[in-house]
Amino acid sequence: MLWHKAWLETRSRFLIGLAVVVIAGFGIMFDYRATEKLMPFARTIDPSTIDTSGPLGATIRSALEAQRDYRGFVWFQWFKQNLANLVTLFAALLGSGGLVSTAAGRGTLFTLSLPITRSRLVGVRAAVGLAELFALALVPSLLLPLCSPSIGQSYSVVDAVAHGLCVFVVGTVFFSLASLLSTEFADFWRPLLIVCLVAMVAAVVEYVPGISPYGLFRVMSGETYFRHAGLPWVGLLISAAMSATLLRAAALNLAHRDF
């Protein structure tokens, strides 16, 4: 029943998130028709003529090169940008709140009076949150191969799963960080804002030469899979280890907290 409680506490955030990512996913898919009309003009630009000495030029060139076909368009617009940003935001939203929250109607003392350990409370809440995050990353991604024929295109299920998994695994880092911060701060907003700030810093840092290949968002986009058909295993393993460490820290922090 703890699962049910965790679900009731997070379901509105999850359902809003699911609606947003599904609508955004469809939006990107149907946007391809308009983009396709611009392709003849885009193809007249020779990427080699773009000055790539600065981050902006490199980004424009990368975008042009990637989006020459539907697969590249979906990867760049959806997995690299929209889905990554949305999952990061909803990971922070799903991880925020919880037992320490002083919001009215949370029944904190009632929960603590039940014969369960605090570790179990953290564990169940994390499991439900991660399952919701998994759905947010995978459901809209799997709708792409299903619905792309409606615009006369096709998209591989394997690609959708591979990219969705990358988004999910890195998204768990932001979820776990929000969970840890929520065992420290009694309000809902500070963990959320701090995680968003961390994500923004992580995104900006990726423009620093030399850091980009190891950046969280590069791993999240599954760029190595897109370009070389190989999953970024090291990045995914590091992200998973970071998530596990953050969740363990959350459980330890909660275990020692006074209410």
Binding site: L109, F110, P115, D258
Partner: protein, 299 residues
């Protein structure tokens, strides 16, 4: 097997930042008693209860329930498995209906009593399909009590169970509590600053103030042992102190000197007669007077 002592607290201290909430509290709650835990606001009642329930860790000292340490995670879970709890805030899950929170709570207790659940749902007139956030404070208290009573708990810990309730609901809650305890073998430990309700249902009490126990014992013994001795003199009452065991605060007003004794009146009477008063009266003391005297002594 039932332990002779349900709750045992020894030299319990709790410090929040630089504030001492508990300063060496000592307490024993015998199994089967209805124990009233009295104290002013901020005396340390809620902190003590939170330590017992494993919600707060003591800074030092020991708190044991059923012989199990409250600050160890595993034993705390075992304690909570045998304990019903109603918190001061009466906060439940706003997003659950009455029926949902009952079903949710029942899953944690193997000895959950569906018969009591049905009985109290009916007698408390709780609407099963209404969300708990829509309930009045009185109804929420009744629901919290139902969730505590149906656990077949060996110990009931109630933190200010009637706080904020109107007199009619207060009376109803107390009556349910008394009749429930009469039919079940259990210990009740409840905090309050409402002396009348403690007087009404408790058989043992402790009065605490500023994190320390001032008075503890069986209510009948306290009533028996506490006496107010009033001495009237021909002129102004003399400045006097009493050395006898149990002698408490001495009050002097004009010709009258009163002293409160917690150990009967004989020894103090013998001392008092040496002061040659015109008259001596020995009067029984109410729990309210014991409380006020105890707390005032600290001032």
């Amino acid at each position: 097997m039932r332990e002779p002592v349900a709750i045992e607290i020894a030299e319990l201290r709790k410090t929040y930042d630089s504030m001492d909430a508990l300063r060496g509290l000592n307490l024993q709650v015998p199994t089967g008693s209805i124990f009233g835990f009295l104290g002013r606001n901020g005396a340390g009642k809620t902190t003590t209860i939170k330590v017992l329930m494993g919600m707060t860790r003591p800074t030092s000292g020991a708190a044991r329930v059923f012989g199990l340490a409250c600050d160890a995670q595993d034993s705390s879970v075992s304690i909570r498995r045998r304990t019903g709890f109603v918190g001061e805030d009466k906060e439940l899950y706003d997003y659950m209906t009455v029926e949902e929170i009952i079903r949710f709570t029942a899953t944690f207790y193997r000895r959950w009593r569906p018969d009591l659940e049905t009985r109290y749902l009916k007698s408390f007139e709780l609407p099963p399909h209404v969300k708990t956030k829509a309930l009045s404070r009185g109804a929420r208290t009744k629901l919290a009590l139902l969730l505590a009573l149906c656990r077949s708990a060996d110990l009931l810990v109630l933190d200010e169970p009637t706080a904020g309730l109107d007199p009619a609901v207060t009376e109803e809650v107390l009556q349910v509590l008394v009749s429930h305890v009469a039919g079940e073998e259990m210990t009740v430990f409840f905090s309050s600053h409402q002396i009348a309700e403690v007087d009404q249902i408790a058989d043992r009490i402790a009065i605490i103030d500023r994190g320390q126990t001032l008075v503890a014992g069986a209510l009948d013994d306290l009533r028996e042992n506490y006496r107010r001795i009033q001495l009237v003199f021909g002129g102004d009452a003399p400045h006097a102190t009493f050395q006898s065991r149990g002698a408490g605060r001495v009050r002097r007003k004009g010709r009258v000197l009163t002293v409160l004794s917690s150990a009967g009146s004989d020894a103090i009477l013998e001392e008092a007669r040496r002061l040659q008063p015109v008259s001596v009266d020995v009067m029984p003391v109410t729990l309210k007077e014991i409380f006020l005297e105890s707390v005032a002594v600290e001032d």
